[in-house]
Assembly symmetry: D2
């Protein structure tokens, strides 16, 4: 009985539609959000509604994409570690071949290193097609590491992962060097929509964003992060689309910016570490397939395009929920009233069913 | 059709049993893990097996518990902000009454504040019984904020949340001031178990922990975190028990420590920000109720005891997966071989079914 | 010859006067700045000039003051560490007596602790009169630690300093828990002064502060810091007044905030970790005595008042330089032209002398 | 009288000699330390003595060197920012020419960028010969920025410095991307020297380093830093050699590592952000010239070699003080006894003089 596999059924709804344009996709689509926190659905829904009232909708710009894994080797001393690092830099062509031998889809696109004492951290960067690429990167790094240990003198095995990757930890390196998709979303909300749908003002959002997201997070001792609740939307979207949702840890490190443009609101969410894929673990499940198909991420197109589309939709969903919550928090008591109302409704719904 | 609610069915297994002792619970129990990453099950399972071979099992010490919410008010100037802060400190008795009026379970147990320019962040700390307490704390803070705005001169509404709380963001404040349950787990693994079950040595684990978890995370620019993959186990356990899994963002900020005690391995995971509850959102679902009951967290005992039990079980599951992965990473190639084997088995299993 | 002591003569100038008001001092005073970077003098000078044109000048509010030292002890296990922490909390009266026995001026005003694995960090907080208090705190902590090791079972010596203090390291803890003087400075600059003296606009400063200080530092992976160059002014002032200038490491972690108030500029610098004293190391030197006297910090008043006065003057000097540099950076090319001109003037001056 | 320039005379002593080898310099030299904290001299002195008892002395490996400045531009939108970034990447040859036109010594060796919302941070990396290079980098960046604003469509001036450089702020970016000299120092201390001179054991140092420097700093919320007091030695050495000592803020972010090698102690300090120069501001002063000459940093050699030599000497001095303090802190009461004795001696010396 112990081994019987069953499922944790997380409540899921489709929210929207929301409108997206930009350098990856132009579309109007609903988004699936799986969550125990039911107020999240109307929150994302309100943002989605706003996106439909903006001419270009949410403009999503994909800035970069790569998956990384850092290995750790011990050298005889720092001088040897430096020599090894230089050797590695000089042999990237050879290393690219090693990677090609380990995977059909992974390609080595960059190498960075850092030396501390006699330890050498080598961070490999890969393109991984439509996969988020954790396993592909680990497999390729395993091959690279074996190759290096065989061919570079004075180094020995430290770890297949040196936490300098960095996976599922909140750090600064991913944002600075890149890991996952880097997506910037922007939405220009006309003044009357700010007023009529969000019940607030551009100036109010701008001020709150400075004080809460930028300053408040800073005072709390945050690292490379300034937002209200990226984690909530990411989690809901990740679970609904078969992603490794533990990647919300670094995925939620992102920045909300707002500007008051003569009463119109310029609103932007930057997610530099969005790890998503349309193939790999979690993707074989029926509802995941259904959801990915409905999102248009099962098209037969060039490798990587489905994952990029999924990334910009994820980022757009994040913007929707972020905008709605910030708008609510500009008004004393609104958040609480909404929560109380929603929970009463839920209770009624349950009792009624 | 848009509004039709359905479920995202995350694969879930019970793993273990694992053995726990300490100041909250003495038990042997299996733990449910819901995840798309199937290698997580045998990983936690191996750690659980080790715990059964240690006399006292995993000793889990609950060090602290509280839930927090910070409000933000704007003052006329810094001097007025300081006067307001002092007023608040002087009136904690009165504020406790305000909280009692807002909730049956929430109790105000502390207040901290910080002033920057003319802005005052006030961080309220509550005990919240068996609930993780997000909503209870927000409701209470809403009442407190309204009370303060009415009775303290020179301040006006800034935000019901100033990100100084901090919820679902990786920061330093939660670890330093406390938020959620603070649980330390310790396991003394006899040398023969280190060798026979973990296929490694105490010295190997110690060295890897220093280089990867402490140093590697530091170099990556981490904040108050030194572990390999707390996030994975937390996510799986949170989803299986109806928790708000976005709290893995701060929950995964914790520290692994290891010592070589004459060949025996002292292994410890400290999770200072473990946010769990046995009542509240997500708890009404059938499988969640079943899981909580099976974990012994539905007992009729004093308020808070079920949540504390859940916290130490969560922390123990984290230790199991952490120990197993670190052990694997001490051996070149082992991680990759395990992944490849598991995925092949999964594929076979699927094809067979 | 090896032991011959001589001096490093750092060029020093008095700049100002600047105007200060607030809860510690109401004064107009010049400030001494010792630096190798001569452009710093006119930079602080321009800010000082602005302060003289504002009715209340720089309003400096002292929010808090304390000096800290954390000791580290090893316990048998986490449970024992927790018991020790509770014992310590229960015996603060006794510990206060121990401190009184170690120093005439130090007083124990708070204790915080954190447990990781079987390690207990205890952070003692002291008031230290007019001394910055490093040595006083260490002496008192040494007495406290000896007392604890003698009277609390199950703990042994770890370190007299556990880096949880934190001295001369950039961390989050000092800002959150307090260390040194916490001073907020505010200056309301009339629109015509913003234009005529600073050659910019309030809106320009506000925008730059958001993008450079708040966002830019965040993206760089900063920790609890958002300013342009607090470190420069602090260093110059610390050297001129006999302070331990290595404390600029944490002292420079502070926040600049700006608001456009109908064209007037509200400008504020918050320095939560300003470590200064008017007695102790460095204070016996002739020029230091002269400088402290000229700053009015050698008055015969209640203990602590001279140090508080010195703190608000230091903070005001920081604001002056910060404001001037930000103003310059709002204008393309201005910074470079100023540097080039100043260096040419310096060269001329040198050649002329 | 206001403008009269005078000097702040910081007490200075030559300490040592210490022994250095490695990829930059092989030498035995004393080092000048200017400080108000007199216990620093014997502390560095003891470490220097240890270095003389190790066969190769302190092995200092220079890993990298560069100076950086980041400019900030505002783009019409993120898409335009991305286009601008790509243009910049494609035109590095042209940009190199622009830099050559602005300076005889600066050379552009790298460009990195990051986009948030519609803002583009561009981080230029330069080699700057024997200068630390602040001004050279700013001058070159000013030229680059003017060139970009003229030739790249859709962008406008944001700031000549976007705090993404990062100068005199504790961040993660400098360590990850490089700024200043990156120097690793290593010292192998024979067991009998650990015992006879340092009065401790290798195991004691290793344990203290893990608990205090790695763990304690982590718990305090530190960023990319694990050491006891790098800041103290850096400040003293910087002041004595005419450096911009405010760069200790990021310079002190470094890592101490220790290993017990069968009773011998492997001890290493890594300083990834050591900003030093032998020409530029502060270098014209008489005592600075004397000190640089005595350190062998006034040789007529290829540009950059003098600065590199200065960097490894600085790093070696840091190791000496770090080792001595850690050794003292392994022994209960030793630090306090040393302080008390030194201050008594100082008092006696003063009274005697």
């Amino acid at each position: 009985m112990t081994d019987a596999q069953t499922v944790a059924g997380i409540p899921m709804r489709w929210v929207g539609p929301l409108r997206i344009s930009g350098n990856v996709a132009t579309t109007e689509t609903q988004v699936p959000i799986a969550t125990y926190e039911s107020p999240l659905w109307p929150s994302v829904g309100r943002g989605a509604k706003v996106s439909m009232l903006a001419e270009r909708g949410i403009v999503a710009t994909l800035v970069d994409e790569r998956m990384t894994r850092s290995v750790l080797v011990e050298a005889t001393d720092a001088q040897t570690a430096l020599a090894a690092a230089r050797t590695i830099n000089a042999r990237t062509g050879e290393l690219r071949e090693v990677v090609r031998g380990s995977s059909r889809f992974a390609e080595l696109i960059g190498v960075r290193h850092e030396i501390t004492a006699n330890l050498l951290f080598v961070r490999f960067e890969f393109s991984t097609g439509d996969a988020s690429g954790h396993n592909m990167a680990t497999l390729a790094s395993d091959a690279l590491l074996r190759h290096l240990l065989r061919t570079v003198p004075g180094i020995s095995y430290g770890s297949i992962s040196g936490n300098y990757c960095t996976d599922k930890k909140a750090t600064a390196i991913n944002g600075i060097l890149g890991r996952g998709k880097n997506v910037v979303t922007e939405l220009l909300v006309p003044r009357d929509v700010v007023d009529g749908v969000l019940h607030t003002t551009a100036a109010g959002i701008v001020e709150l964003n400075i004080r809460k997201n930028l300053l408040g997070t800073l005072l709390a001792g945050g690292i490379r992060s300034a937002n209200a609740h990226f984690a909530n939307m990411l989690l809901g979207f990740y679970l609904a689309t078969g992603q490794d949702a533990a990647n919300i840890v670094e995925g939620s490190q992102g920045v909300t910016m707002a500007e008051d443009r003569d009463g119109d609101l310029y609103f932007s969410c930057t997610l530099p570490n969005l790890i998503v894929g349309t193939v790999g673990n979690g993707k074989g499940l029926g509802f995941v397939e259904t959801n990915l198909t409905r999102l248009g991420c099962r098209a037969g197109c060039e490798p990587g395009q489905n994952a990029r589309r999924l990334a910009v939709i994820a980022a757009a969903a994040v913007l929707c929920g972020e905008l709605s919550l910030l708008a609510a928090q500009t008004n004393p008591g609104e958040l609480m009233r909404a929560h109380v109302r929603l929970e009463r409704d839920n209770k009624t719904a349950k009792e009624g069913s």
